[in-house]
Symmetry: C2
Subunit: 583 residues, 2 copies
């Protein structure tokens, strides 16, 4: 062992001990008579002192040190005269007897500090240096701790972690697969799993009863910001359970994590039907840290000669408390916000409910004080509040208002990073119509069961059938989702038919699962959490990138390793593939 202690370990108890530390030189401060070295490792920082009692050799070595040199220090622990209460080791320092340079270091291309001066690209290229910074180390430690807590919690309630294969069969439903050419089976390919969905269902059929796995999954999607081609999922499945059982188990797990990691106790998570989430928040993942829910004022807004409202399917309002003093500039900027292409509203109507009780709106030409007062009553607006109104086709207006609500929540400081508001969104539609492919797609996935009470509509109005599907949403972020599965081969076959699969296609792609259903499949249900997302929530980060040790950039590249890369002609030949120029 090169050391007796770590750089985070020494306390007053160790006073006068002769010890050896190893670590990286964070900083050297030469004050003439005395030189201080901040020596850093994963566990902390310890102050090393070189003074008039040190040998010339030590003094010279200390002078030669650069940032990020790796050194070994022998010395004696001493009580500091001026203690540093901000550092766990701040009561002591180490009087240096000997320094050994274990490795020198070129000057790093950016600073290894809490906040670095390096740009994104540079820090990705030298990820191993960026990973030395404390925020990254804290994130990865949090990730490790979270995984440990999850594994122990689930193991204690009889879940078994079972590894499913990474080289599986390609199935075109869902996102695009990454594929792996098979050398031993030329012209054939494995696929990397988008999730172990079918395999975990087989494990239920095999009687494993409670399965989980913290597992890498893969999607070859065009990468939007904050998507990674490989990501980690907490994948779970249970047999002989109904929806309520799954929600209870994973609510328990989530509460446990909040308690252990954040010291936060959370009451029972509210449950909200999908339809309510859409009509009150304009989103299937509402951020309920704040209210500002929608009021439908269509009926009280359509009795005057204002053609915009009169021609609208819905007129929807929110009340922004205490915002009646918004300036023209602020209101214009909100209008710009809702009119941007991604949101697509045509305009924004406002009503200022002044503190003196008067109402002033952008549609005063059409509506009088009495009209506006009715809107204020409907939205529960009080003097001092601002009412914001959008109108048009219902679904679109809901989505637009959902975006505006979040923007207002942001502007009004209602999205507190330290507050956590989890929520189950339930009763999702089973299917959604895709105009492009001119067929229904499974909203969750094709193994999700329809609600019994809606089964009568499955032939006549399939779009209205609700599913036994649920999402866990925290602070407006979808953390996970799952469903009660179909466990009957006939119903599964009917489902595939609804989704436009021919019997042959269904057999070819899902035959082994449908066949397995015939050999005694138990009722089962499951859920999967996005592990990267969950950890980034606990870390208070917007992006998942900094809870992943070696993430890829938006083109799916690892710029540190320079992957992907060309492979040799020999390799291609062995795999029986050749490259084709992109047309």
């Amino acid at each position: 062992m090169y050391r007796t202690h770590t750089c985070g370990q020494l306390r007053l108890d160790n006073n006068n001990n002769t010890i050896t530390l190893c670590g990286w030189v964070q900083r050297v401060r030469n004050l003439g008579a005395v030189t201080f070295i901040d020596l850093r490792d994963r566990y902390g920082i310890t102050q090393i002192v070189i003074d008039q009692n040190s040998t010339d050799e030590v003094k010279q070595l200390a002078e030669s040190l650069g940032r990020e040199y790796v050194i070994q220090v022998e010395g004696v622990v001493t009580e500091r005269s001026s203690k540093n209460p901000k550092m766990p080791t701040g009561d002591i320092e180490v009087l240096c007897k000997n320094i050994t340079i274990l490795n020198s270091a070129k000057l790093p291309p950016f600073t290894i500090e809490e906040e670095s001066d390096g740009g994104d690209e540079l820090r990705m290229k030298y990820r191993y240096l960026d990973l030395r910074r404390s925020p990254l180390q804290r994130n990865l430690m949090l990730r490790h701790k979270t995984a440990q807590l999850i594994r122990n919690y689930l193991s204690n309630i009889d879940f078994m972690e079972i590894e499913t294969p990474v080289l599986i069969k390609s199935t075109p439903e869902g996102a695009r697969d990454f594929v792996v050419p098979s050398r031993m089976n030329p012209t054939e390919f494995y696929a990397l799993p988008q999730s172990p969905q079918q395999l975990k269902q087989l494990l239920m059929i095999a009687g494993y009863d409670r399965y989980f796995q913290i597992v890498k999954c893969f999607r070859d999607e065009d990468l939007r910001a904050d998507r990674q081609p490989e990501f980690t999922q907490i994948d779970c499945e249970m047999a002989f359970v109904e929806q309520e059982d799954v929600l209870n188990v994973f609510e328990g797990l989530t509460k446990h994590l909040f308690a252990e990691l954040k010291g936060v106790t959370i009451d029972t998570f509210p449950r909200m039907p999908y339809s309510e989430a859409i009509s009150k928040y304009g989103s299937d993942k509402p951020d309920i840290r704040f209210g500002m829910t929608f009021t439908d004022i269509t009926s009280i807004a359509q009795h005057k000669e204002f053609p915009v409202f009169n021609s609208a399917e819905s007129v929807i309002a929110i009340c922004a408390q205490g915002c009646s003093e918004y300036t023209r500039k602020q209101l214009d900027s909100l209008t710009e916000y809702v009119k941007r292409q991604q949101i697509g509203a045509k305009g924004l109507i406002y009503v200022k409910y002044a503190t003196d009780g008067t109402l002033k709106s952008s549609v005063d030409k059409f509506y009088d004080q009495e009209d506006l007062l009715k809107w204020a009553e409907a939205t529960e607006a009080k003097p001092g509040d601002l009412i914001l109104i959008l109108s048009g086709e219902t679904e679109k207006t809901q989505m637009q208002m959902g975006a505006l609500r979040l923007e207002m929540g942001h502007q009004m400081g209602l999205m507190d990073n330290k507050k956590f508001s989890p929520l189950w969104v339930v009763d999702f539609p089973l299917l959604e119509w895709n105009a492009e492919t001119n067929r229904y797609h499974a909203m969750h996935h094709p193994f999700t069961s329809p609600k019994k009470e809606d089964m009568a509509m499955i032939e006549t109005s399939p779009g209205k059938v609700r599913a036994n599907a649920y999402d866990l949403v925290i602070n407006g972020v979808e953390i996970g989702g799952g469903s009660v599965r179909i466990f009957n081969s006939e119903l599964q076959a009917k489902m595939f038919a609804l989704l436009g699969f021919t019997a042959e296609q269904a057999e070819d792609q899902f035959g082994f699962l449908m066949n397995a259903f015939k050999y005694g499949a138990p009722p089962h249900a499951g859920i999967a959490f996005g592990f990267d997302r969950l950890v980034s929530l606990f870390a208070g980060l917007d992006s998942i990138r900094d809870v992943i040790a070696f993430p890829k950039n938006n083109s799916g590249r690892d710029v540190m390793m320079d992957a992907p890369s060309q492979i040799s002609a020999e390799q291609l030949k062995e795999l029986c593939i050749s490259l084709v120029k992109k047309i």
Copy 2:
């Protein structure tokens, strides 16, 4: 919830409770007046009773049940009149009030029992049914438990589990890579990791100090029996440590696993230099559950006119205790054994040391009693023992004798499944000469450090340089291996040169690691255990296949899913690759 209890849970304490169970029908025994159903789930089996008090509906339902039907049973727990002490639930049975068939089952193609009547192929195709059998369930539970113990043990001593990417850069050193074409970076490929070797070294450079990961690794090798294209590794790395520290930490882990999983306490693991393993056991993974070590009798065997010995580089003997009564047939069969192609000996010499003290050998023509007695003394043979002798070129003879020793150990019943004899093999050679490529290859891998005291020979006799490399061997099985790494970029560059890499090749393939060494790399060392192999050892199995939920066959196929498989022309086009006919 479909049930109140599991099928392994009910005891006399539950007497008279009304309960609900779910599970699979293991067996229905209709004895006329009374029918017994053995109901099975992962947790156990409970006996259900239908008797004259049951309703006609229940009786009819019971008659309709087939093997592996999934049912729900409501009933009352009752003390059994004739208890079954072999079953944990054997004190009670459940008087059936109601049966609900949750799912019917086609007759399974083989029996779901401790021993199945199904052949390998069939059981692989219906793996989800094979996985219902108790031996498989015990194996996967053992695997889960082992992983949990490892994670908790390592976490408690400050190791962090850090996930490294699965989509990395292809490097031709080592085995063949599986590759993944990148759609977003046409003509380029990711590789699946053969191990996270370079990434874990980067994590040490990044200051993570103690890393582990239970992680999938991939090798596109021609599959020998008991090799899988994807396998699981316990991958570990530590900074600021020497070889002894790594051995101590992972000896501690291994002892902990033996204690927790097998109730076995094991003393300090012996450490044996590679050279001793070869000269005494003819193997770098000696099975030391038994002795029968080699004696070199070259000097005392070459003084007579026996040309076979006289022309041999080495004459090596083992003593098989108590085997002097081996028959001609047995000895012939041993001769056949060592002459088979994989072993390649030319013949086998024996000396029987009869219980009456006389010696009889297959070379009596050349050697008298006095000669043979000398051999007996050298091999410590006693009356009643059998001496077996091979001769020829030293290395070959050692390997041949190693095989013969194992065969004798097997025949003599010395390889007790319940006994565990771990051993560290240390001081491996750094390099081995490859006659095919006409260059040195790294015996461990190119990041392994040479022993300081052997550095002088690195230019002159590179083949003699020993490495700071070590293997953990248990019962003759290599469970894991590792090394102290090079952490200096110049030495690493020299190593690549020794291995025949040009500077450009080294830069292209390992540039990011060598560059990272320049920014402050700490001394570090690591180890990796084969997790599948370790679990199969604990399970007392010879094969790793049955500790893996969904293994592949010897052609790398998953016959259940039918993977790999053809992919669509559309997919190929998007990936910019085309298929080439195998020549």
